[in-house]
Symmetry: C2
Subunit: 322 residues, 2 copies
């Protein structure tokens, strides 16, 4: 059995907990949190973050469920100094820096770190790599959604007069169809996605001002066709409390300079954090196995032989899935 | 530069030739054939199959383009005794036996063999493995087509009175939609695919008998809803001479016992052999690199770190695709 520690216990931590508890080859040692452990509602053991370093002998892999903005840049190298780790660092532009920092820590400790797992980065990255490897002459497209964007929802909540909000990122179907047809179109930001907002405003708030502030918010909304719907707190709770997400990676290109090909990888997820947690758990298996084989340092999903993700043995997987 | 030899020069060999010639890091040493080399129409060098064993020092990887029925079971172990090899062995039921035979030969020679590459087995197998690893509680579906099935076309050609024929395998769209919806239906053979046949008959042949023989042919057609169209040789050449194929691997399942998720990987290919050839070329890169790192034996697509398929270096791939 693979002994797993979960560091951080928000939505993603709960997703990892569920995945580890249902895996036939994993044992959940417990969750580690900086919050008061009495506040954690779970049947699994819960420890203080400070206890982690005293439990080196009991944990084979630590799955890190902190955020990419401030937690993981410090947490991943710190924990990789003593444990095999898996994280879901998702600030694409900073991945090379994160890789270098974590690699130094993991090489020094002789442990394995696998960073930026999940679905984007993660499974979508793998889809891009395989599609590029087998179809070098082509164009990549990534569409996200329909799904809740936490960052955009937060941005709306910061507007004066807004009590709560949810924002859906929605891919433009006609653009996806053009890509699938092999047309290889050039698409602007506006042509690829629309944004739909559900907003609960304070009583008497200036709705026109709120809508205008949302639509004109740079980076977040101004480059998109944005729809704003004002609804009640009850309706938000009833119809928009889910965490659905998904998307498609599409590459279209030619072989021999003339035959069209389209490769598409798509996800449709009712719960983004529970699916992401399940992906992280599978990469924990690979982290442990690579380290047991004598390897150390920082790896990405690109470096992992896929067979290492499976609980079943290689012969069975080859016989049934190849 | 990676020096590539192509063994066998049918449609697949031509596909590999095009892929190798356009790869920035590959040099095509030539094709090796059992046919008269004068019959080979290509600008690339062409050699007799018997010359291969004298060119060990000039070839880094031999890409084997023979058939799975009779060529590859003998050819892959024979050539792996002296070369790194890649094949596209696609008789799913016999893959474990093929793996054992080739593994023994490659371990004895200290070479790497990667078997059963292409798209099914190959990319579809990878899609199945990743989807199973990250979504252990679910159901797999594979749909093929719309595409030309060589085996079914050949079966029709063997019927008395038939001059030529093409058979399309077509997935049932309503079944695919049920699977995509997360319904996890049980589907019979007949409910998943239909078969459409275009047949050129001899003048005066009994068309009713031919149609009946096709529809009732066991294994090939009797379990399917089959449509038979009699057309002229000219129409067959004009409208049905392509080699299109494709399909979808779909897995739907739940996380935490309750959230639905659908993972789909799809291909749409104008030319099956040219795309397959391009896949084989990318795995030749991995075969060479694994062997250069000191590994030997028989591998499958499941054993290969994806990064080894790319011509670009790891840092660039991580920076741009992760």
């Amino acid at each position: 059995m693979l002994n797993i520690g979960i560091v951080g216990y928000g939505n993603l931590g709960r997703g990892v907990e569920a995945a580890v508890k249902s895996a036939p080859d994993m044992n959940l040692v417990g969750m580690f949190t900086r919050r008061n452990t009495d506040d954690i509602k779970s049947e699994s053991p819960c420890f203080s973050y400070d206890d982690l370093q005293n439990m080196k002998d009991q944990i084979d892999v630590a799955i890190l469920c902190g955020g990419s903005a401030t937690d993981l840049p410090l947490m991943t190298p710190e924990i990789a100094a003593n444990f095999n780790v898996v994280d879901s660092f998702d600030t694409h532009a900073n991945i090379p820096d994160h890789l270098r920092t974590v690699d130094a820590a993991a090489k020094a400790s002789g442990k394995i770190a696998i960073i930026s797992t999940g679905w984007d980065p993660g499974l979508f990255s793998l889809a891009r790599l395989y599609a590029n490897a087998v179809l070098p002459d082509g164009t990549d497209y990534t569409f996200w959604g329909k799904g809740i964007s936490q960052g955009h929802s937060d941005a709306i909540r910061r507007i004066e007069g807004v009590i709560d909000a949810r924002q859906y990122t929605i891919p433009v179907q006609s653009a996806m169809e053009r890509v699938r047809s092999g047309e290889s179109p050039s698409l602007t930001t506006r042509e690829k996605h629309t944004r739909e907002c559900f907003v609960v405003a304070e009583e008497g708030a200036d709705l026109d001002r709120i809508e205008s502030e949302i639509r004109n918010m740079p980076n977040y909304f101004s480059d998109y066709d944005t729809t704003v719907n004002f609804i009640s707190a009850e309706e938000l709770a009833e119809n928009h409390s889910g965490m659905l997400h998904g998307g498609s990676v599409i590459r279209s290109g030619v072989t021999a300079g003339r035959y069209n090909n389209t490769i598409e990888f798509s996800l449709k997820l009712d719960s983004n954090p529970f699916f992401t947690g399940s992906v992280l758990a599978s990469f924990a298996r690979a982290a442990y196995r690579l380290n047991a084989a004598g390897e150390c340092g920082c790896k990405t999903v690109f470096d992992i032989p896929p067979i290492l993700l499976m609980a079943e043995n290689r012969e069975d997987v080859i016989a049934h899935m190849l």
